[in-house]
Protein backbone atom coordinates (compact mmCIF):
# COMPACT_ATOMS: atom_id res chain seq x y z
CA UNK A 1 0.00 0.00 0.00
CA UNK A 2 1.39 3.34 -0.96
CA UNK A 3 2.09 5.76 1.84
CA UNK A 4 1.85 9.38 0.91
CA UNK A 5 2.23 12.52 2.97
CA UNK A 6 -0.15 15.30 2.21
CA UNK A 7 0.79 18.86 2.86
CA UNK A 8 -2.25 20.84 3.72
CA UNK A 9 -2.42 24.34 2.31
CA UNK A 10 -1.55 27.08 4.74
CA UNK A 11 1.13 25.01 6.45
CA UNK A 12 3.45 27.98 6.95
CA UNK A 13 0.61 30.11 8.20
CA UNK A 14 -0.29 27.48 10.77
CA UNK A 15 3.24 27.00 12.07
CA UNK A 16 3.78 30.71 12.44
CA UNK A 17 0.58 31.63 14.11
CA UNK A 18 -0.92 29.19 16.46
CA UNK A 19 -0.30 28.43 20.04
CA UNK A 20 -2.75 26.44 22.12
CA UNK A 21 -5.04 25.78 19.18
CA UNK A 22 -4.38 22.09 19.55
CA UNK A 23 -6.29 19.82 17.24
CA UNK A 24 -8.00 16.93 18.95
CA UNK A 25 -7.72 13.49 17.38
CA UNK A 26 -10.40 10.94 18.08
CA UNK A 27 -9.94 7.25 17.36
CA UNK A 28 -13.07 6.08 15.61
CA UNK A 29 -14.14 2.48 15.94
CA UNK A 30 -15.40 2.45 12.39
CA UNK A 31 -14.49 -0.22 9.86
CA UNK A 32 -12.55 0.39 6.66
CA UNK A 33 -13.32 -1.65 3.55
CA UNK A 34 -10.96 -1.54 0.60
CA UNK A 35 -12.14 -1.80 -3.00
CA UNK A 36 -9.30 -2.08 -5.46
CA UNK A 37 -8.97 -2.89 -9.09
CA UNK A 38 -9.16 -1.30 -12.49
CA UNK A 39 -12.94 -1.04 -12.30
CA UNK A 40 -13.22 0.07 -8.66
CA UNK A 41 -14.66 3.53 -9.38
CA UNK A 42 -17.01 2.40 -12.13
CA UNK A 43 -18.24 -0.45 -9.95
CA UNK A 44 -19.07 1.83 -7.04
CA UNK A 45 -20.54 4.52 -9.27
CA UNK A 46 -23.55 2.35 -10.12
CA UNK A 47 -24.32 1.57 -6.49
CA UNK A 48 -24.00 4.86 -4.60
CA UNK A 49 -25.75 8.20 -4.38
CA UNK A 50 -22.66 10.29 -4.96
CA UNK A 51 -20.46 10.84 -8.00
CA UNK A 52 -17.44 8.61 -7.41
CA UNK A 53 -15.66 10.14 -10.42
CA UNK A 54 -15.02 13.20 -8.24
CA UNK A 55 -12.30 11.06 -6.70
CA UNK A 56 -10.42 10.75 -9.99
CA UNK A 57 -6.93 12.25 -9.56
CA UNK A 58 -6.88 13.19 -13.24
CA UNK A 59 -10.03 15.19 -13.45
CA UNK A 60 -9.14 18.04 -11.19
CA UNK A 61 -5.63 17.40 -9.94
CA UNK A 62 -5.65 20.45 -7.72
CA UNK A 63 -9.11 19.99 -6.34
CA UNK A 64 -9.76 16.28 -6.43
CA UNK A 65 -11.24 15.58 -3.03
CA UNK A 66 -9.75 12.60 -1.37
CA UNK A 67 -12.98 11.80 0.37
CA UNK A 68 -16.50 11.74 -0.97
CA UNK A 69 -19.49 11.24 1.29
CA UNK A 70 -21.91 8.70 -0.09
CA UNK A 71 -24.86 6.65 1.00
CA UNK A 72 -25.73 3.11 0.04
CA UNK A 73 -29.47 3.35 -0.41
CA UNK A 74 -31.00 1.16 2.30
CA UNK A 75 -27.66 0.92 4.05
CA UNK A 76 -25.94 3.52 6.15
CA UNK A 77 -23.95 6.54 5.10
CA UNK A 78 -20.35 5.83 4.27
CA UNK A 79 -17.49 8.06 3.30
CA UNK A 80 -15.14 7.11 0.48
CA UNK A 81 -11.45 7.87 0.38
CA UNK A 82 -9.12 7.67 -2.57
CA UNK A 83 -5.76 6.12 -1.76
CA UNK A 84 -4.20 5.99 -5.19
CA UNK A 85 -2.34 9.16 -6.12
CA UNK A 86 -2.49 9.05 -9.88
CA UNK A 87 -4.09 7.13 -12.71
CA UNK A 88 -0.85 5.19 -13.12
CA UNK A 89 -1.62 3.43 -9.88
CA UNK A 90 -4.30 0.78 -9.55
CA UNK A 91 -7.44 2.45 -8.22
CA UNK A 92 -7.78 1.85 -4.51
CA UNK A 93 -10.80 3.22 -2.72
CA UNK A 94 -11.57 2.87 0.98
CA UNK A 95 -15.04 2.97 2.45
CA UNK A 96 -15.51 3.89 6.10
CA UNK A 97 -18.62 2.51 7.73
CA UNK A 98 -20.14 1.44 11.03
CA UNK A 99 -18.45 -1.82 12.11
CA UNK A 100 -21.79 -3.52 12.59
CA UNK A 101 -22.70 -3.17 8.92
CA UNK A 102 -19.31 -4.11 7.48
CA UNK A 103 -20.56 -7.58 6.66
CA UNK A 104 -23.78 -6.30 5.07
CA UNK A 105 -21.90 -3.87 2.91
CA UNK A 106 -19.42 -6.52 1.83
CA UNK A 107 -22.25 -8.87 0.94
CA UNK A 108 -24.05 -6.10 -0.90
CA UNK A 109 -20.94 -5.27 -2.93
CA UNK A 110 -20.21 -8.91 -3.71
CA UNK A 111 -23.77 -9.45 -4.89
CA UNK A 112 -23.45 -6.70 -7.47
CA UNK A 113 -19.86 -7.39 -8.41
CA UNK A 114 -20.54 -10.22 -10.92
CA UNK A 115 -17.64 -10.01 -13.35
CA UNK A 116 -16.17 -6.63 -12.45
CA UNK A 117 -12.43 -6.60 -12.02
CA UNK A 118 -12.39 -5.53 -8.39
CA UNK A 119 -11.37 -7.06 -5.10
CA UNK A 120 -13.25 -6.22 -1.94
CA UNK A 121 -11.58 -6.76 1.41
CA UNK A 122 -11.63 -5.16 4.87
CA UNK A 123 -8.49 -3.34 6.06
CA UNK A 124 -8.01 -4.34 9.68
CA UNK A 125 -4.46 -2.97 9.69
CA UNK A 126 -5.65 0.59 9.23
CA UNK A 127 -7.26 2.93 11.71
CA UNK A 128 -9.57 5.87 11.16
CA UNK A 129 -9.39 9.10 13.14
CA UNK A 130 -11.35 12.30 13.24
CA UNK A 131 -9.26 15.43 13.67
CA UNK A 132 -11.23 18.36 14.98
CA UNK A 133 -9.41 21.70 15.04
CA UNK A 134 -9.12 23.54 18.32
CA UNK A 135 -11.47 26.18 19.64
CA UNK A 136 -9.89 28.96 17.58
CA UNK A 137 -12.13 30.22 14.81
CA UNK A 138 -10.81 30.49 11.28
CA UNK A 139 -8.63 28.27 9.18
CA UNK A 140 -10.05 24.80 9.37
CA UNK A 141 -8.10 24.13 6.20
CA UNK A 142 -4.68 24.50 7.77
CA UNK A 143 -3.02 21.67 9.62
CA UNK A 144 0.58 20.70 10.07
CA UNK A 145 2.13 18.42 7.51
CA UNK A 146 1.47 14.81 8.33
CA UNK A 147 4.33 12.39 8.51
CA UNK A 148 4.81 8.87 7.25
CA UNK A 149 2.62 6.63 9.39
CA UNK A 150 -0.45 8.38 7.97
CA UNK A 151 -1.90 7.30 4.66
CA UNK A 152 -4.34 10.10 4.19
CA UNK A 153 -5.34 13.34 5.87
CA UNK A 154 -8.23 15.08 4.21
CA UNK A 155 -11.10 17.40 5.13
CA UNK A 156 -14.25 15.59 6.19
CA UNK A 157 -16.43 15.94 3.08
CA UNK A 158 -19.63 16.28 5.10
CA UNK A 159 -19.13 19.68 6.69
CA UNK A 160 -16.32 22.00 7.62
CA UNK A 161 -17.24 21.78 11.29
CA UNK A 162 -16.23 18.12 11.27
CA UNK A 163 -12.61 18.96 10.65
CA UNK A 164 -10.51 16.27 9.02
CA UNK A 165 -10.45 12.53 8.55
CA UNK A 166 -7.15 10.73 9.07
CA UNK A 167 -6.31 7.20 7.99
CA UNK A 168 -3.17 5.71 9.49
CA UNK A 169 -1.64 2.33 10.20
CA UNK A 170 -2.99 0.77 13.35
CA UNK A 171 -0.92 1.70 16.37
CA UNK A 172 0.45 4.87 14.80
CA UNK A 173 1.49 7.62 17.16
CA UNK A 174 -0.79 10.58 16.52
CA UNK A 175 1.55 13.20 17.93
CA UNK A 176 4.12 12.20 15.34
CA UNK A 177 1.61 12.62 12.58
CA UNK A 178 0.09 15.85 13.80
CA UNK A 179 2.49 17.60 16.15
CA UNK A 180 0.78 19.43 18.93
CA UNK A 181 -2.42 17.41 18.71
CA UNK A 182 -4.01 15.54 21.57
CA UNK A 183 -5.87 12.27 21.53
CA UNK A 184 -9.36 12.87 22.81
CA UNK A 185 -12.14 10.72 24.18
CA UNK A 186 -14.38 9.45 21.41
CA UNK A 187 -17.41 10.42 23.51
CA UNK A 188 -16.42 14.05 23.02
CA UNK A 189 -16.36 13.43 19.29
CA UNK A 190 -19.93 12.13 19.46
CA UNK A 191 -20.98 15.12 21.55
CA UNK A 192 -19.49 17.40 18.90
CA UNK A 193 -21.40 15.52 16.20
CA UNK A 194 -24.69 15.70 18.02
CA UNK A 195 -24.21 19.39 18.78
CA UNK A 196 -23.66 20.05 15.10
CA UNK A 197 -26.38 17.67 14.00
CA UNK A 198 -24.18 15.35 11.94
CA UNK A 199 -25.58 11.81 11.89
CA UNK A 200 -23.17 8.89 11.76
CA UNK A 201 -23.49 5.16 12.21
CA UNK A 202 -26.41 2.77 12.45
CA UNK A 203 -28.00 4.39 15.50
CA UNK A 204 -28.36 7.76 13.82
CA UNK A 205 -29.05 6.27 10.38
CA UNK A 206 -30.88 2.95 10.84
CA UNK A 207 -30.67 0.92 7.64
CA UNK A 208 -33.97 0.79 5.81
CA UNK A 209 -35.45 3.50 8.03
CA UNK A 210 -33.36 6.60 7.44
CA UNK A 211 -34.00 8.30 4.10
CA UNK A 212 -31.11 10.07 2.35
CA UNK A 213 -32.76 13.46 1.93
CA UNK A 214 -34.31 13.57 5.40
CA UNK A 215 -30.91 12.61 6.79
CA UNK A 216 -29.53 15.78 5.23
CA UNK A 217 -27.31 13.83 2.93
CA UNK A 218 -27.68 16.49 0.27
CA UNK A 219 -26.49 19.17 2.73
CA UNK A 220 -23.54 16.95 3.59
CA UNK A 221 -22.48 16.69 -0.04
CA UNK A 222 -23.42 13.03 -0.23
CA UNK A 223 -25.80 13.04 -3.20
CA UNK A 224 -25.11 13.95 -6.79
CA UNK A 225 -28.18 14.91 -8.76
CA UNK A 226 -26.31 14.91 -12.05
CA UNK A 227 -24.97 11.40 -12.20
CA UNK A 228 -26.50 8.22 -13.56
CA UNK A 229 -28.65 5.54 -12.05
CA UNK A 230 -28.29 3.80 -8.68
CA UNK A 231 -30.84 1.92 -6.55
CA UNK A 232 -33.38 4.40 -5.26
CA UNK A 233 -32.30 7.14 -7.62
CA UNK A 234 -35.75 7.73 -9.05
CA UNK A 235 -37.25 8.41 -5.64
CA UNK A 236 -34.35 10.56 -4.46
CA UNK A 237 -34.28 12.66 -7.62
CA UNK A 238 -38.04 13.10 -7.71
CA UNK A 239 -38.25 14.18 -4.08
CA UNK A 240 -35.41 16.61 -4.51
CA UNK A 241 -36.73 18.26 -7.63
CA UNK A 242 -40.44 18.18 -7.03
CA UNK A 243 -41.23 17.12 -3.52
CA UNK A 244 -41.08 19.04 -0.31
CA UNK A 245 -38.92 17.65 2.45
CA UNK A 246 -41.01 18.13 5.56
CA UNK A 247 -38.84 16.34 8.10
CA UNK A 248 -35.13 16.37 8.72
CA UNK A 249 -32.61 15.16 11.25
CA UNK A 250 -31.85 17.98 13.65
CA UNK A 251 -29.67 18.37 16.72
CA UNK A 252 -31.65 18.48 19.96
CA UNK A 253 -30.72 19.19 23.54
CA UNK A 254 -32.38 18.53 26.85
CA UNK A 255 -32.16 21.53 29.18
CA UNK A 256 -33.20 19.52 32.26
CA UNK A 257 -31.57 16.40 33.71
CA UNK A 258 -32.79 13.15 32.19
CA UNK A 259 -33.76 9.94 33.97
CA UNK A 260 -30.82 7.53 34.14
CA UNK A 261 -32.27 5.23 31.50
CA UNK A 262 -31.97 8.03 28.98
CA UNK A 263 -34.34 8.59 26.10
CA UNK A 264 -35.44 5.53 24.11
CA UNK A 265 -34.81 5.53 20.38
CA UNK A 266 -37.97 6.21 18.47
CA UNK A 267 -39.58 8.15 21.31
CA UNK A 268 -42.34 10.40 20.05
CA UNK A 269 -41.69 14.13 20.27
CA UNK A 270 -44.64 16.44 20.82
CA UNK A 271 -45.27 20.16 20.70
CA UNK A 272 -46.63 21.98 23.73
CA UNK A 273 -50.15 21.53 22.42
CA UNK A 274 -49.62 17.80 22.01
CA UNK A 275 -49.19 17.71 18.24
CA UNK A 276 -46.76 15.15 16.82
CA UNK A 277 -43.53 16.86 15.92
CA UNK A 278 -41.22 13.97 15.25
CA UNK A 279 -39.21 11.09 16.70
CA UNK A 280 -36.04 10.93 18.75
CA UNK A 281 -33.37 9.01 16.87
CA UNK A 282 -30.25 8.69 19.05
CA UNK A 283 -28.02 10.61 21.39
CA UNK A 284 -25.76 10.69 24.40
CA UNK A 285 -26.16 12.63 27.61
CA UNK A 286 -28.05 15.85 27.12
CA UNK A 287 -27.53 15.96 23.37
CA UNK A 288 -29.07 14.00 20.55
CA UNK A 289 -30.43 13.93 17.06
CA UNK A 290 -34.09 13.65 16.09
CA UNK A 291 -36.23 13.47 12.99
CA UNK A 292 -38.42 16.53 13.26
CA UNK A 293 -41.05 18.24 11.19
CA UNK A 294 -39.44 21.48 10.03
CA UNK A 295 -42.61 23.39 10.84
CA UNK A 296 -42.07 22.77 14.56
CA UNK A 297 -38.34 23.30 14.88
CA UNK A 298 -38.48 26.61 16.71
CA UNK A 299 -41.26 25.66 19.11
CA UNK A 300 -40.79 24.32 22.61
CA UNK A 301 -40.96 20.51 22.38
CA UNK A 302 -41.19 17.60 24.78
CA UNK A 303 -41.07 13.83 25.07
CA UNK A 304 -43.35 11.83 27.35
CA UNK A 305 -41.18 9.51 29.46
CA UNK A 306 -43.09 7.42 31.94
CA UNK A 307 -45.47 9.93 33.41
CA UNK A 308 -43.25 12.96 32.94
CA UNK A 309 -42.85 15.43 30.16
CA UNK A 310 -39.17 15.95 29.35
CA UNK A 311 -38.44 19.24 27.62
CA UNK A 312 -36.23 19.41 24.59
CA UNK A 313 -35.07 22.07 22.19
CA UNK A 314 -34.09 21.76 18.58
CA UNK A 315 -31.68 23.97 16.68
CA UNK A 316 -31.01 24.55 13.02
CA UNK A 317 -27.36 23.74 12.35
CA UNK A 318 -25.21 26.63 11.18
CA UNK A 319 -23.60 24.59 8.45
CA UNK A 320 -26.92 24.01 6.64
CA UNK A 321 -27.30 26.05 3.45
CA UNK A 322 -28.91 29.36 4.36
CA UNK A 323 -31.92 28.83 2.13
CA UNK A 324 -32.91 25.73 4.06
CA UNK A 325 -32.65 27.28 7.49
CA UNK A 326 -36.12 28.76 7.54
Amino acid sequence: MLVRAITAPGLRRWCRGRRGAAAACFPLGRALLGVRGAEAAVFLQGLLTNDVTQLDPNKNPALAPAAVGVYFPDLVGVTLFRLHGSTAEEPHILLECDSSVLDSIQKHLKLYKIRRKVTIAPCPDLSLWAVIPGEQPGDASSLPKCADPALLLTPDPRAEVMGWRLIAKKGANLSEIIPGSQVGDVQDYHRHRYKQGIPEGVKDLPPGVALPLESNLAFMNGISFTKGCYIGQELTARTHHMGVIRKRLLPVSFPEPLPSAGVPEGAEILTESGKRAGKFRAGGGELGIALLRLAHVNEPLCIKLGGDRVKLRAATPEWWPKAAAK
Partner: protein, 81 residues
Protein backbone atom coordinates in the same frame (compact mmCIF):
# COMPACT_ATOMS: atom_id res chain seq x y z
CA UNK B 1 -23.46 -5.87 -14.33
CA UNK B 2 -24.31 -4.42 -10.96
CA UNK B 3 -25.68 -0.93 -10.87
CA UNK B 4 -28.57 0.96 -12.31
CA UNK B 5 -31.73 2.16 -10.65
CA UNK B 6 -32.94 -1.33 -9.72
CA UNK B 7 -29.64 -2.96 -8.89
CA UNK B 8 -28.56 -4.84 -12.00
CA UNK B 9 -28.40 -3.74 -15.58
CA UNK B 10 -28.29 -5.44 -18.95
CA UNK B 11 -25.39 -4.72 -21.23
CA UNK B 12 -25.45 -5.59 -24.92
CA UNK B 13 -22.53 -5.38 -27.28
CA UNK B 14 -21.59 -6.77 -30.68
CA UNK B 15 -18.67 -9.12 -30.61
CA UNK B 16 -16.65 -11.53 -32.72
CA UNK B 17 -14.96 -13.44 -29.93
CA UNK B 18 -16.41 -16.38 -28.03
CA UNK B 19 -14.69 -17.13 -24.70
CA UNK B 20 -14.47 -20.50 -22.97
CA UNK B 21 -16.92 -19.38 -20.27
CA UNK B 22 -19.55 -18.19 -22.73
CA UNK B 23 -22.80 -19.97 -23.50
CA UNK B 24 -24.72 -19.36 -26.69
CA UNK B 25 -28.13 -19.59 -28.23
CA UNK B 26 -28.90 -19.46 -31.92
CA UNK B 27 -31.84 -18.70 -34.20
CA UNK B 28 -32.47 -20.00 -37.70
CA UNK B 29 -31.45 -16.69 -39.23
CA UNK B 30 -27.94 -17.26 -37.90
CA UNK B 31 -28.05 -14.60 -35.18
CA UNK B 32 -26.32 -15.76 -32.04
CA UNK B 33 -26.73 -14.51 -28.50
CA UNK B 34 -23.74 -15.15 -26.30
CA UNK B 35 -23.82 -14.82 -22.49
CA UNK B 36 -20.99 -15.47 -20.06
CA UNK B 37 -21.72 -18.16 -17.49
CA UNK B 38 -21.86 -15.71 -14.51
CA UNK B 39 -24.39 -13.46 -16.17
CA UNK B 40 -26.42 -16.43 -17.40
CA UNK B 41 -27.63 -17.08 -13.86
CA UNK B 42 -29.36 -13.69 -13.93
CA UNK B 43 -30.95 -13.99 -17.36
CA UNK B 44 -31.69 -17.69 -17.80
CA UNK B 45 -34.94 -18.13 -19.68
CA UNK B 46 -35.05 -14.54 -20.90
CA UNK B 47 -36.26 -13.41 -24.29
CA UNK B 48 -34.12 -11.05 -26.31
CA UNK B 49 -35.55 -9.00 -29.15
CA UNK B 50 -34.78 -5.92 -31.18
CA UNK B 51 -37.18 -3.26 -30.00
CA UNK B 52 -37.96 0.04 -31.73
CA UNK B 53 -39.39 2.66 -29.41
CA UNK B 54 -39.39 6.41 -28.88
CA UNK B 55 -36.70 6.11 -26.20
CA UNK B 56 -34.37 4.09 -28.43
CA UNK B 57 -34.09 1.26 -30.96
CA UNK B 58 -31.86 -1.52 -29.72
CA UNK B 59 -31.62 -5.09 -28.53
CA UNK B 60 -33.50 -5.47 -25.27
CA UNK B 61 -34.22 -8.19 -22.79
CA UNK B 62 -37.98 -8.18 -23.18
CA UNK B 63 -38.83 -10.71 -20.51
CA UNK B 64 -36.71 -12.20 -17.74
CA UNK B 65 -38.20 -14.87 -15.46
CA UNK B 66 -35.42 -14.22 -12.91
CA UNK B 67 -36.26 -10.55 -12.59
CA UNK B 68 -38.55 -9.28 -9.88
CA UNK B 69 -39.09 -5.76 -11.11
CA UNK B 70 -37.45 -3.46 -13.59
CA UNK B 71 -37.07 0.21 -14.26
CA UNK B 72 -39.30 1.99 -16.70
CA UNK B 73 -36.63 2.36 -19.37
CA UNK B 74 -35.90 -1.37 -19.36
CA UNK B 75 -32.18 -1.23 -18.68
CA UNK B 76 -32.15 -2.10 -14.98
CA UNK B 77 -33.79 -4.92 -13.02
CA UNK B 78 -33.85 -6.48 -9.58
CA UNK B 79 -33.62 -10.20 -8.93
CA UNK B 80 -35.92 -12.61 -7.08
CA UNK B 81 -33.97 -14.40 -4.38
Amino acid sequence: EGGGCSGFQYKFSLDTVINPDDRQGQRDCGARVVVDVDSLAFVKGSMVDFSQELIRSSFQVVSNPQAEKGCSCGTSFSVKF
